[in-house]
Symmetry: C2
Subunit: 598 residues, 2 copies
Amino acid sequence: MRTSIATVSLSGSLTEKLTAASRAGFDGVEIFENDLLASPLTPEEIRARCADLGLTVDLYQPMRDIEAVPEEEFARNLRRARHKFELMGRLGADTVLVCSSVSPLAVDDDALAAEQLARLAALAQDFGIRVAYEALAWGRHVSTYDHAWHIVETAGHPALGTCLDSFHILSRGSDPKGIADIPGEKIFFLQLADAPLLAMDVLQWSRHHRCFPGQGGFDVAGLLTQVLRTGYDGPLSLEVFNDVFRQAEAGPTAVDARRSLLVLQETVGVAAPPAPAVPTQVAFAELVTPDADPLAALLGALGFTRTARHRSKPVDLWQQGEARILVNTGTAVRRDGTQLAAIGLESPDPSAAARRAEALLAPVLPRRRAPEDAPLDAVAAPDGTELFFCATDRADLPNWRADFEDTEHPSAAAEVSRIDHLALTQPWHHFDEAALFHRSVLGLHAQESVDVADPYGLLRSRAVTTPDGGVRIALSVGAAPTDDTVHAQHIALATDDVVAAARRFTEAGGRLLPIPANYYDDLAARFEFAAGELETYRELGILYDRDAHGEFRHCYTRTVGRVFFELAQRDGGYRGYGAQNAPVRLAAQHALKRLTGG
Amino acid sequence: MRTSIATVSLSGSLTEKLTAASRAGFDGVEIFENDLLASPLTPEEIRARCADLGLTVDLYQPMRDIEAVPEEEFARNLRRARHKFELMGRLGADTVLVCSSVSPLAVDDDALAAEQLARLAALAQDFGIRVAYEALAWGRHVSTYDHAWHIVETAGHPALGTCLDSFHILSRGSDPKGIADIPGEKIFFLQLADAPLLAMDVLQWSRHHRCFPGQGGFDVAGLLTQVLRTGYDGPLSLEVFNDVFRQAEAGPTAVDARRSLLVLQETVGVAAPPAPAVPTQVAFAELVTPDADPLAALLGALGFTRTARHRSKPVDLWQQGEARILVNTGTAVRRDGTQLAAIGLESPDPSAAARRAEALLAPVLPRRRAPEDAPLDAVAAPDGTELFFCATDRADLPNWRADFEDTEHPSAAAEVSRIDHLALTQPWHHFDEAALFHRSVLGLHAQESVDVADPYGLLRSRAVTTPDGGVRIALSVGAAPTDDTVHAQHIALATDDVVAAARRFTEAGGRLLPIPANYYDDLAARFEFAAGELETYRELGILYDRDAHGEFRHCYTRTVGRVFFELAQRDGGYRGYGAQNAPVRLAAQHALKRLTGG
């Protein structure tokens, strides 16, 4: 189906918006009136620019408060409409949106509304324009889609149809089943937006919190299914008012937007991108650093062995159990020195995974870094992390591991069995995009977003996982974009015995994050522990949490660059990430940073 | 009355919070449990730190979901309470807050709640502790203050009283009149918070949007009046969960917080800071610049005359009608070069104005810059702008004008009569503070906040004014703190004939901000103009707006440094600032900046 986006959904000048929409592959745009008024381009120039960019102008929305008003007022509205229809001719737009009136002048009179809309449509017809009438969720007298359709039906004018908007319908809890009663040819336009399920004033909700389909809590796919049953064949158009998108770079937002429509079309069965090849585990995590020594000391103390070295690049493979960490000193040093740059995802079908990622607009990275390397399919996540789709020592598949020459066997007495999860701080402008990306491109499940109190502001955190927990990525974001890099990334290592793993680490000279004594006094108040257990946690700095499924014990290393490690023991099916303990951990990290000036 | 603040209201580590609260003059603190758990200080050390800082520990809040639960669960709660009461002994806190339960285990049984709270109070009494029971607005079975009080009364234990929280009471729309029925000695604690009037889920509203009294829409003073009638003599304590304050520097937030309590006490008549000496007009606006030439050219073209020069400093006075602009090339150059650094406010009593400002914690600036200068009372606004309380050529008062030596008479043929308004971009973290500051310190009225769409994000704008419009300041802020300095400040100059003023400016070589033709096509659609009128606006770049009271015509100069000028003609009592036109103006400024690379 054709896809379109309202210019209000993107940041910048009109030309920046049009360029971004075109590059992301949209077929058309809705031109928001303020964008046109503020543009130095004439309507003819905008039309030409759109044509050059391969975009049609699918909708223009220049008028509010048209219908069901006293005749004198309506005469003024028709005068205004005539001006706007002339403008639309110059702009090359053939459909005008008319939202149900919010004017205090409007009266509750469907017959009058229908009669005036028919007159508006008659005028529009003279200009070759169709009028799409839409119920605003907060319309004064008309606020539901079936009511708007009733008025359109009553008016009975060929140039008058209805516009459906998923936000206005779903925010009011209307049942979209009734859409099937509307003839498809009378649905002149379809606007799509999702939103988080917030209990708040619908106008504020609409103006500030809309998001792209799949990023909120609405069943946009269910609504689209109803619309498609009518035979509607117009564009799927995104109209998203969002305070963050208004500030974000238009290019990535447009890609995020179109990805959301691709996924939506897949969900309702009108598009079939390559199926997800859901990763089964983390094959490796790759750290880049200008100085490998601190990391080597840390990994050694954690029980990792440097088992192999890349044949052609300065990359070491450290291994313990199934946990593999690459330490790369060759990549250009990033602004923060040591950081988590790439993740290897063990994939049932790496090529298929890459094909899906590409189809869903993930930036594809070169397959081969050097001629002699195994070809590795890789894409960039929204935060810039490189995601490699890997097969590790599996027959008939390119084996990244073969690029490494073994140097030493890993220790048999491993305390760490695998990577439990990876925690990645997201750029503030791309948090919603990140969750949708991981869900749609990788086929992971997104959990609920939780608030975490850092001493210097609230963080939000949202995990994306495979159902069995084989891959777990915790995405987090600060409350404002002041400094996207202030919070560290971390690698959590799974262990069956966190006490033993922590002791091993400290005995090998490692230093765990010190946890305040007050935390343990509180644990003593909240839980009963076996004799000596709490004392051990207190001594080592092990944190404790419990959920309905099981228990979680975990501790943290000091930070190197932007990266630290966690030792994590899950028992009895615990599903969380110790969010309850995060404020204490974050405060301890801030305190340490102040002490060390780091 | 004693004032207190919950540590959760401030950003940073516990010690940073305590220091900020003490410096702002608070008498006590509520220690929020997470702040204690995350602190490396022992409870005894925290107690000592508070004592050193002159702070009492007025409340501790370590327990949730205590009452009206099955006996087995309550036994666990008592066990937890015993731990916490021991801790409170070490901490030196004698009042514990217990919020009404939100636990799914809680039953709707007031008798059971009363019985269990009495048992909790009995235990507390053994530790010399009082229990203050508070209704959370989203409590499972107890959500109103009168219900909580009924349970406390039923329990009838001397160590059990109630805690009132203005947010929980006013967010539910409860009538605070019933508070008068509670004996003052049974109100163990009073928590105060305001909030903007948002129609949203009360839990989210409470957790993210509370603000200090006077910054929101609640009648906190009305509630406090009721509380004081009971004879309550405990502290006034601020408990404010706010996403912005969590990120802002603790020091200024604490000052803002205490200012809010000073104003609140004045409102209810229990404190009497010096009365406001409301300014009557803008005596001058002072620009600092490293290079006076571009400003001199701009001011000259606008019709200003350089009428005087400061006797001892490199400051020129430019005048036209009653509009006075100081151009200061002596002050250390700021990061953005040319900017609006100070405002002179014509005050009926400059000393009294300064005394009030100081009493309300405004940072007082040195009265005299040089020995020979007239002593000028001045304070710093939250955005750093210096506010001078002035008398201009008035008998018996220090006359700032006398520091200037006349050089030339202003032109008699003035198009500009006075400064219409000043528009100041506020630091993101201090927008709520700024409105309260201007309202309370200066005695201005704060208008409603409006959203304005900039191409790169939403701005909020809020004007503070005198009732007659003699002083008008438009405060604005971006949607995120990414760059507080990206938006310019401006000085709007009042004229009776904006067309003549604009012509004069352009004929003198000035260049107005170009406004797109599309804007005028829209004006033609929306309004009917006299013959030729619209063409004149189009030619010059004059914008037009209309409200219920009158009309507004205005245009803008190009920007110098961070400053530009507006020529503004108000007719018929128009009250706004052309917010309707702001998106077009902002887009034009961005476009020009891109063109000029400025």
